[in-house]
Structure formats: C-alpha cells, structure tokens
C-alpha cells in the first residue's frame, strides 16, 4: 500500500488582513464561533487517514501551538499518528506564489524521508473547506502524474499531491536558488512534467482580508454551507476542546438567524451574526450582521452593525458602531469602544 504524509504551511500572513498581521498567523485566526482556520486542513487530513502531518509554524507561533498542542483533538499525538511542528525558513511571506517555499522543504528534508512516503499532500491554511483527500490521492496514484493540483473551476485551491521522489529531485536541482515556490518551479521550469488536475466540488472560501473573513463567517448561516462544512460524510471538523458550559439565553433575548458558541450569555438582540465562545450581549444591546470573536462584551444599550471584533473587545453602554457589508467596522484585540 502506498503511503501519503501531509504538510500544512502556516508561516504566512496577509497584508490586507490586520486581524492577523500583528497578532497571529492566518492559520490561527478564530472562525465560525469555536474554530480556528487551521482546524480545517488538520481535520481534513486526519479524516482522510493521513497519519503523519507536518505543520510549518509561523514566527508568531504562540497562539497556533497553544491551539494545536500535540494534535490530540484531531487524533494525532499517538504512537502511530503524529503531528510534527516544523520550523519555517521565512516568516511573514505574502501572496499565493510563495506559500509553498522549497526552502521550507529543504530545512525539513528529514521529515519528508523519515517514513519513506510515496506522496506528500501539501496544503495552505487559510481556506475553509471540508474535503476527503482519499479520492484525490487515488486519482493521483492511478494517473501516474508526478503532481496533482486541486482546482475548483479555475481557482487553484492551494492544495496538491506530489511524489516524494519529485520533491527530492527539486531539492537537488534548485537548492541554490532562493525563494522559489514549488508550484512556480513546476509551472516555470518544468512545464513538461506530468501535472494532473483534480476537480473539487463543494463549498470553499479563502480568507485573505477582512471582507473574506466576514463573508465566510456569514456563509455559515446558510444551511447548505453549514451542512457541507460540518456535517459532511468525510468526518467532523475537530477543534481544541475548552470545557465551556452551554450558552444561556435569557428571557429578554431576541435571536434570529445566528450562530452562537458555548459559554455565552445572551440577554439582548442578536441577528444575522456569529458569536464566539464566552461572549456577553447584555439586555437592550443589539448585535446585527456582526462577527464577535470570543469574550466579546456588548454592554447594555450598545448597538453594533456590520461589526467584526477580535477577542476580548468591549463595546460600552450606549455606544453605536456600524460598518457596511463591503467594509465591516473592525475592532482590534482587547479594545474598549
């Protein structure tokens, strides 16, 4: 039986997304009430039977490492199922072309040859989708291609399977060229290599800026998107368990079309919003069309609309904050408004 290992690159940030640039890598950005972006590639790999996964960590790696730990929540951290934290060579790199740097592979070459895998499945960490990778690997194996890239329509999904032998060749041939990405090497220098294409059908959304972030969270309010992401037959999206108590919805609450995580106390109005763990919406407070990360505190009489806030933001009593659908108002971590 052939063996596939996984590699997730998480050592990149986005210029446009000030949520992440200062504080944490994109991979560690909270999402969907109780998740972080990294939960999706990690769960997809675990659910596809990939037992060895390497994670190239970002420079600001505290929040990511704290969240992922030994990978136990995803079934890693066991004798035969391991998650490896791999150092990156370059931090804060940007843009799609440099997501999969050969330098990062060279720095961690031992990881790719330790178990003598036939294939390596490589993905980024800022795209939300739930996918069974097994048909992709099967197609790649049957096709005889050296690399198979995943597309949805014309869009490359920052995900591909590559033969380990090709990785080793690339390392030999290009080791003294700086800053080369694997996908650009293939398209620019090896146009004749056998490159396959795998079609993904289903929901996906990449997160590069605040608008993407807002849209993707709001997409979860659509039943079909929610079902595709969280109730897929390929398995559950796992995350770090935090033992929060269930949410209490007070007699005064008015909630419509919203997602609310555990440990919240909702006493006011919430519409078309996503509210993360341990947040408080006080009586007579109003939250509409908004995404509140964990420990948000919307005090009595405050009103937010088209509002996205990072962790531990307080909107004080009587304050009204409003953005627009195209450009939601963003509050940084720990702010009091």
């Amino acid at each position: 039986m052939s063996k596939t290992i996984g590699l997730i690159t998480a050592n990149y940030v986005s210029d446009e997304f000030n949520i992440s640039a200062e504080e944490r890598a994109l991979a560690a950005v909270p999402f969907g009430g109780r998740y972080r972006l990294i939960d999706f590639p990690l769960s997809n790999m675990a659910n596809s039977g990939i037992n060895t996964v390497g994670l190239i960590v970002p420079f600001n790696n505290r929040s990511l490492i704290e969240h992922v730990g030994t990978g136990k929540a995803w079934g890693f951290g066991r004798k035969t199922h391991s998650l490896f934290m791999l150092p990156g060579t370059v931090y804060g790199k940007r843009g799609d072309k440099s997501k999969f740097l050969l330098k990062d592979i060279i720095a961690n070459l031992r990881f790719f040859n330790y178990d003598k895998p036939d294939y390596v499945l490589i993905t980024g960490s800022n795209r939300i989708y739930t996918m069974d990778y097994r048909p992709l690997i099967a197609q790649h194996e049957a096709s005889g291609c050296k690399i198979t890239k995943v597309f949805k329509g014309d869009k490359f999904m920052d995900c591909f399977v590559i033969n380990t032998s090709l990785i080793n060749d690339l390392v030999k041939w290009f080791s003294n060229v700086d800053f080369l990405g694997i996908t650009s090497i293939i398209s620019e220098y090896l146009p004749n290599e056998n490159v396959g294409r795998y079609e993904y059908v289903g929901y996906e959304h990449s997160i590069n800026n605040l608008k993407d972030y807002y849209e993707t969270n709001c997409d979860l309010l659509k039943e079909e998107v929610n079902a595709m992401l969280f109730h897929s037959p390929c398995g559950t999206i796992a995350t770090n368990i935090q033992d929060r108590c269930p949410t209490f919805i007070a007699p005064t609450a008015e909630i419509k079309n919203s997602i609310i995580a555990a440990g919240c106390l909702i006493e006011g109005t919430v519409e078309n919003s996503v509210i993360f763990r341990s947040s408080h919406v006080a009586e007579n407070a109003s939250v509409k069309n908004s995404v509140l990360m964990q420990h948000a505190n919307i005090e009595s009489g405050a009103a937010v609309n088209y509002f996205v806030c990072d962790k531990r933001v307080t909107v004080t009593s009587g304050v009204a904050v409003s953005g627009s659908k195209e450009s939601p108002y963003f509050a940084k971590k720990g702010m009091t408004i």
Binding site: G32, D243, C245, F248, I249, A250, A253, N257, S258, A261
Partner: protein, 377 residues
C-alpha cells in the same frame, strides 16, 4: 511503599430505577444533565479540582455507556500515569465471583486496589449528586480533628429530614447517632453520602462487617453504626453550597430547571473551579431566522428553527419549524419534527419525535419520553 494521602472511590453501580426510562440503557451517573454534561462530571471534576488524582469508579448496572464516557479519564485529567481513573466492575476470584452486594461490599471487594495505593484516607462518593465541593477542605478538617470518619452533611428543612440519613450531634459537635430516614427526626443534618475515612479504620471495619451474616454491607446502615459502637470519632463537615440528589424524575427535572436561574447557573458553571466533561465535537448552535428562543440553556450542535421557552437543550438537538418546546428538558441528539408541541417533558437521548406530535400532560405532570427511539403521538 510511599502512599497517597487520599484516593477516591466513586459508587456508580446503582440502577437508578426511579429515573425510569432515562436509565433504561445507561447507569444513573451517566445520565445526561444540564445540556452537555453527565451527572458524574460533577464528582469527577470535584476530585480533580481538589487535587485527588486517583479515582476508582465502581460499576455494576449497564456500565457500557459509562465505560465509554470515562474512557481513559482524559477529559478530567484523570489519565495520569500514577493513579488516574480506574473502572472497577465486579470480578471473579479463585473462590468464585459475586455481584457487589451493598455499598460497603463494593469497597470490600476492592481492598487490593485500594491497598496498592497505600492511602492514609479514603474518600467515598456517590456518582449521582450535583454539587461543587473542595474535598481538600473537608480532608483538612478531617485531619485536624484526627477523626476516624468525616461525613459531609447538609442542613435540610425539618419536613424533608425524614427522607434522608440523619446525623445527630453530641455537645462536642461530634456525630453520636445515625438514623436512616427517621419518622421523628431529632436533627436536620442530612448525610450527603460523602465520607472521608481513615483507611486503616475503614479497612478493619470492612473485614468485620464482611463476616457478619446479618449485615446488608451498607455504609449508612452498617458501617457507620459499627464505628459509632466502637466509640470512634465521627465528625460532620457542613456544606453550604448547592447540592442536589437527582435520584427521582422530579428531582432530576427540578435540578435541570434550576440551572435557568441565572445566579445558580453562574455559581455552578462560571465561577470558581471548572466542571469538565467528555464532549463530542459539535459545531456552534444555530438559531433560525423564524425561531424564538427565550430563557433557555442551549448546547453546541443545536439547531432551533421553531420556538423554545424555559427549557434545556442538550448537545445536537434539532427543533424543527413551527414546533414549540416549553418547560422541558431535551437530552442530547433528540430530533423534534415540525408542528410539535412539547410541554413539561423530559425527552431521552437520541429520541426522534415525529412531525405533529403533542407531548403534554393534561394535569401538568412531567412527561418522560424515551422508551423507544421514535415517538409519534
């Protein structure tokens, strides 16, 4: 051998027959509570939060769900290499096998397990009580008083007193009498079924009790009177927080509904030490555009499309359009179809309620649904 100061033995083998269909497939301590919890979470969390890292869980009645739930004990940090959680069902020896024939007998049959940790003190717990307690504080008082046995007591009303095991105190404040469900109680200090024994004292008492053919091998009926007869020092430990025995449908219903009281919910779940549980992965809850949810505890994985009022929804519950759930306790993974009316009901785990069902007692009694996996009516 260097021993542990105190280890815990948790009695989790009872059937809990007064909970009816709720314990049809599952031991009482494993019954769901408060949305995402199971009753036993409180005791296990108390142990860990009190620094007790070794817990023997005595099982007997339908232990599968409980075994699976506790697993390695990891969810409560009880997967420690030196101690942790151990499941202790009845077992056979070269002399044959027996069921546990009483609370004291269950401990007696596990002497080897307890001796292997060489503890100074043994904490005995019931797996079916809801409360948050620092056992360390109780242990401190037990040690300071150099007591043979310390019993946690709770002041109940005089009317209730005849439903409990009642402790009477002498003028030194020590326990001088124990009466099981007395008709004319002379004290209102009820035993909470939480004991800390000096292990050497209990060990000797268990051996003596085992050889007594008249004994029912019960802590309340036999062991405590035996120690009192020997003139041992027994002291009370007064507990003042929230405490509830969830042994009956009425008390189970009440304990759940109590959580809707904001003050109590805050006291149990948000303040002080955490209550740990072994939960599955669920996504965050979804409240629909036409839904109305008021005065409710709603767990992860729930979807509410209809109306919910004054109720508790367990993990993964679905309430479909135009259905109304009020004054009810809905256990995990229950699916409620369209156009249902559910009032003052307890719906057991995993039950699917068909479209158009009406569940409400005309006399306002609590309805308990869950003998079958589907319900239509």
């Amino acid at each position: 051998m260097y021993g542990k100061e105190c280890i815990a033995m948790l009695l989790a083998g009872g059937q809990g027959s007064r909970l009816g269909v709720l314990t049809r497939n599952i031991a009482k301590p494993a019954v769901s509570f408060g949305g995402k919890y199971r009753i036993i979470d409180f005791c296990l969390s108390n142990c860990v939060n009190s620094g007790i890292d070794t817990v023997g869980v005595l099982t007997q009645y339908k232990p599968f769900a409980l075994n699976k739930y506790i697993g390695t004990g990891e969810a409560w940090d009880l997967d420690s290499p030196n101690g942790g959680a151990s499941m202790l069902p009845p077992f056979a020896t070269e002399k044959g096998g027996n069921w546990y024939e009483g609370t004291a007998d269950a401990i007696f049959r596990n002497l080897d397990f307890i001796d292997s940790y060489n503890p100074e003190h043994l904490l005995i717990l019931s797996g079916d009580h809801l409360y948050k307690m620092d056992y360390n504080e109780m242990l401190r008082i037990h040690k300071e008083a150099e007591a043979a046995l310390t019993i946690a007591v709770y002041e109940v009303t005089w009317e209730e007193a005849s439903r409990f095991g009642i402790m009477s105190l002498d003028d030194k404040g020590e326990i001088c009498k124990f009466s099981e469900k007395p008709k004319n109680p002379d004290s209102n200090l009820a035993s909470m079924g939480i004991y800390i024994f000096r292990w050497d004292v209990l060990r000797a008492a268990l051996l003596e009790d085992h050889d007594n053919p008249e004994s029912e091998h019960d802590f309340g009926k036999n062991i405590i009177p035996l120690l009192l007869g020997q003139g041992k020092k027994l002291i009370p430990y007064r507990f003042k927080g929230y405490w509830k025995d969830v042994g009956t449908i009425d008390s189970y219903y009440e304990a759940n509904i109590d959580l809707l009281d904001k003050g109590l919910g805050t006291q149990l779940f948000l303040e002080g030490t955490p209550v740990f549980s072994n939960s599955n992965f669920y996504t965050a809850q979804y409240i629909g555009a036409e839904a109305s949810v008021k005065n409710a505890i709603v767990s992860n994985g729930c979807s509410v499309i209809g109306d919910v009022n004054h109720s508790i929804l367990g993990s993964g519950v679905y309430v479909d359009a135009k259905s109304t759930v009020s004054d009810s306790i809905i256990l995990p993974e229950v699916k409620i179809g369209k156009n249902c009316v559910i009032k003052k009901a307890i719906i057991n785990e995993g039950v699917s309620i068909k479209d158009g069902s009406v569940i409400a007692d005309p006399n306002g009694e609590i309805m308990v649904i869950g003998a079958d996996s589907e319900y239509a009516g």
